[in-house]
């Protein structure tokens, strides 16, 4: 195992996030010079059209990318740690699909719901999916079985979602973009009611960090050191459900971020969960900012969905991880 890079890694990550953010603000349907981007941030002029684009549309979207990426990165590392499975990810294990199904069901089928109910639906769906995958995977502690159970759950939930949407053609049009994972949908409405859940999910991860670290030595050794393993698993489950649910509520099911980010983070800062829990939200944010830049520039003037870009990046990484594990 290579040694962690130490502080240069952290410095690089932070600088990269800063640069990616400015890039994110500058590119788009109308390219805005970097100097104007800077001016819009530090000396906002309401009369300047470019400034209002930046402050009104692009900055919320950037903020969305940061939060969604941070949630997915954290959820991924917690799932990998507690499941002792390097292939765990809220997308691959069907948790995002479960959350998406419940949101679609809630909005289309149950009457009289407004947007504030979306996160609750998302949490419900994420919880049902997580419990379903855990039941299917059994107690055998077999990574392959867990991954297959998750893939099956994801397929099942997506199929049900598709059926629901076929029944409601209008709903399909408004939800289609959200369902492949897009930061552009919720960006305008600034769903501030979601922040408490995001913060709670992150706090739960933080509470759990010592136990997760001890759990690396196996559940028996962890228990003999004083870890309450059941409590640690429940707190982790709650954190994953909250974080994945928030990400889905904000941007739809975006896959592979929770898979790619923890592996990258381990290369940069090592395997200690205390460092990983700090590095994964940062790297998740960075990945999602860059993915969103690509999504908005690759086929300009059209726009790809962010989830499609992360799948394009994450799919090959997933295959590489499986191949490396088989060697």
């Amino acid at each position: 195992m290579s040694r962690a890079w130490g502080w240069p890694a952290w410095f690089t990550i932070l600088v990269a996030i800063g640069l990616a953010s400015i890039l994110h603000l500058a590119v788009g349907a109308k390219s805005i010079p970097w100097s104007d981007v800077w001016q819009a941030l530090v000396a906002y002029d309401a009369g300047n059209a470019d400034h209002s684009v930046i402050q009104g549309a692009r900055l919320p979207r950037l903020w969305m990318a940061v939060v969604v990426g941070a949630c997915l990165g954290l959820a991924g590392v917690v799932m990998q740690a507690v499941g002792d499975n390097p292939l765990a990810d809220p997308g691959i294990l069907g948790i995002n699909s479960g959350a998406a199904l419940f949101v679609v069901f809630g909005l289309l089928v149950l009457p009289g719901n407004d947007m504030t109910m979306i996160p609750l639906f998302a949490f419900g769906g994420a919880l049902v999916a997580a419990l379903g995958v855990m039941l299917l995977a059994g107690r055998s502690h077999n990574p392959v079985r867990l991954t297959l159970s998750g893939a099956m759950m994801a397929a099942l939930f997506s199929a049900i979602t598709a059926i629901l949407l076929l029944l409601d053609q209008q709903g399909l049009d408004s939800l289609r973009r959200w369902l492949t994972g897009s930061l552009g949908v919720a960006g305008a409405t600034r769903p501030t009611w979601l922040w408490p859940y995001v913060v709670l999910g992150m706090l739960l991860c933080l509470i759990n960090v010592r136990a997760l670290n001890a759990y690396r030595l196996g559940s028996q050794a962890a228990a003999s050191m004083g870890v309450n393993v059941l409590k640690m698993r429940l707190v982790s489950l709650a954190a994953v459900v909250l974080l994945s649910g928030c990400a889905v509520a904000l941007a739809g099911p975006i896959g592979f971020v929770g898979l790619v980010v923890p592996h990258t983070a381990r290369l940069l800062v090592g395997h200690d969960l205390r460092r990983l829990l700090l590095a994964t939200p940062l790297l998740g944010a960075l990945l999602l900012i860059l993915a969103d830049v690509l999504a908005r520039t690759l086929v300009s003037p059209y726009e790809l969905n962010t989830g499609i870009v992360t799948a394009l990046v994450g799919g090959p990484v997933f295959v590489a991880l499986v191949l490396r594990k088989q060697e």
Binding site: M1, N213, L217, A221, H271
Partner: protein, 272 residues
């Protein structure tokens, strides 16, 4: 200090522990011995509350140990499991420091006392030269010593060890057993599952012989390390002899299938 009353446990139909009652003497070295599958590891795991018995209870400091929180229990009882894992990217130092887990919390991070416990454990287990190595690069014997150091860093009055001498060569086995005796002399209560009967008889103060999930015999080696007990517990024919150098008891298995060749007949002189 540690006392088990009427423990019963079965996996499906199989009785693993059948009415086991034990009083572990405080500040002594107790060895659990018995044939494969007789319930030694299970008993150790029940004592450490890794497994919940179907009935019966374990008393620690006079109260049932289910009333202790995991952390409070871990400050009193440490367990070295039989099988251990080597997480990727973890160094020996990180492993040993993990042993301080029950003594730390969010508001009480690394202290002088933690550092002293780790230093002492590292010195006792003799792993100072390995501290910066990654666990995955160690040999089985080195790894075992590092895990023992982690268990010692936990700094508990009671230490449970499940076959701690596995993977160790003979010199390191003896070094470990001497270490356990040293810990006992410091007042700690040691309970170890041991496979080597002669080592158990030599180093332990108290032998617990298990047979099919029940206690067959319990007491000092002089009391229970007998030909009859070995026959009953292991179905082993052996002589018990006394080591002429140390005075310890030794069991020497007899090999009925490989009888010593008859001595050459005395030469008979036939003569007038």
């Amino acid at each position: 200090m540690l006392k088990a009353t009427r423990l019963r446990l079965h996996f499906a139909e199989l009785k693993v522990l059948d009415d086991v009652s034990l009083a572990i003497p405080e500040g002594r070295f107790t060895a659990l011995i018995g044939a494969n599958g007789c319930g030694k590891t299970t008993l150790l795991n029940v004592l450490a509350r890794m497994l919940r018995p179907a009935s019966g209870e374990v008393l620690l400091e006079g109260r049932s140990h289910v009333h202790f929180s995991r952390r409070d229990l871990a400050r009193r009882v440490a367990l070295l499991p039989q099988r251990t894992v080597s997480p990727a990217g973890m160094t020996v130092r990180e492993l040993v420091m993990q042993g301080r887990y029950p003594w730390q919390s969010w508001w009480r991070q690394w202290t002088e006392q933690d550092q002293r416990a780790v230093d002492r454990a590292v010195a006792l287990a003799d792993i100072a030269t390995l501290l910066d190595r990654a666990l995955v690069t160690l040999s089985g014997g080195q790894l075992q010593r590092c895990w023992i150091a982690m268990t010692l860093a936990q700094d508990t009055p009671v230490i449970l060890l499940d076959e701690p001498t596995t993977f160790l060569d003979i010199a390191h086995q003896i070094a470990l057993l001497e270490l356990l005796v040293e810990l006992r002399d410091q007042g700690r209560t040691i309970i170890a599952v041991l496979h080597d009967l002669n080592q158990a008889a030599r180093y332990a103060d108290n032998l617990v012989m298990l047979r099919q999930g029940a206690v067959h015999a319990q007491g000092s080696p002089a009391e229970v390390f007998t030909q009859a007990n070995l026959k009953a517990v292991f179905d082993l024919d052996a002589h018990i002899i006394t080591d002429p150098y140390s005075g310890d008891l030794l069991c020497v298995p007899t090999s009925p299938g490989r009888a010593r060749p008859a001595p050459p007949p005395a030469v008979c002189r036939v003569g007038p």
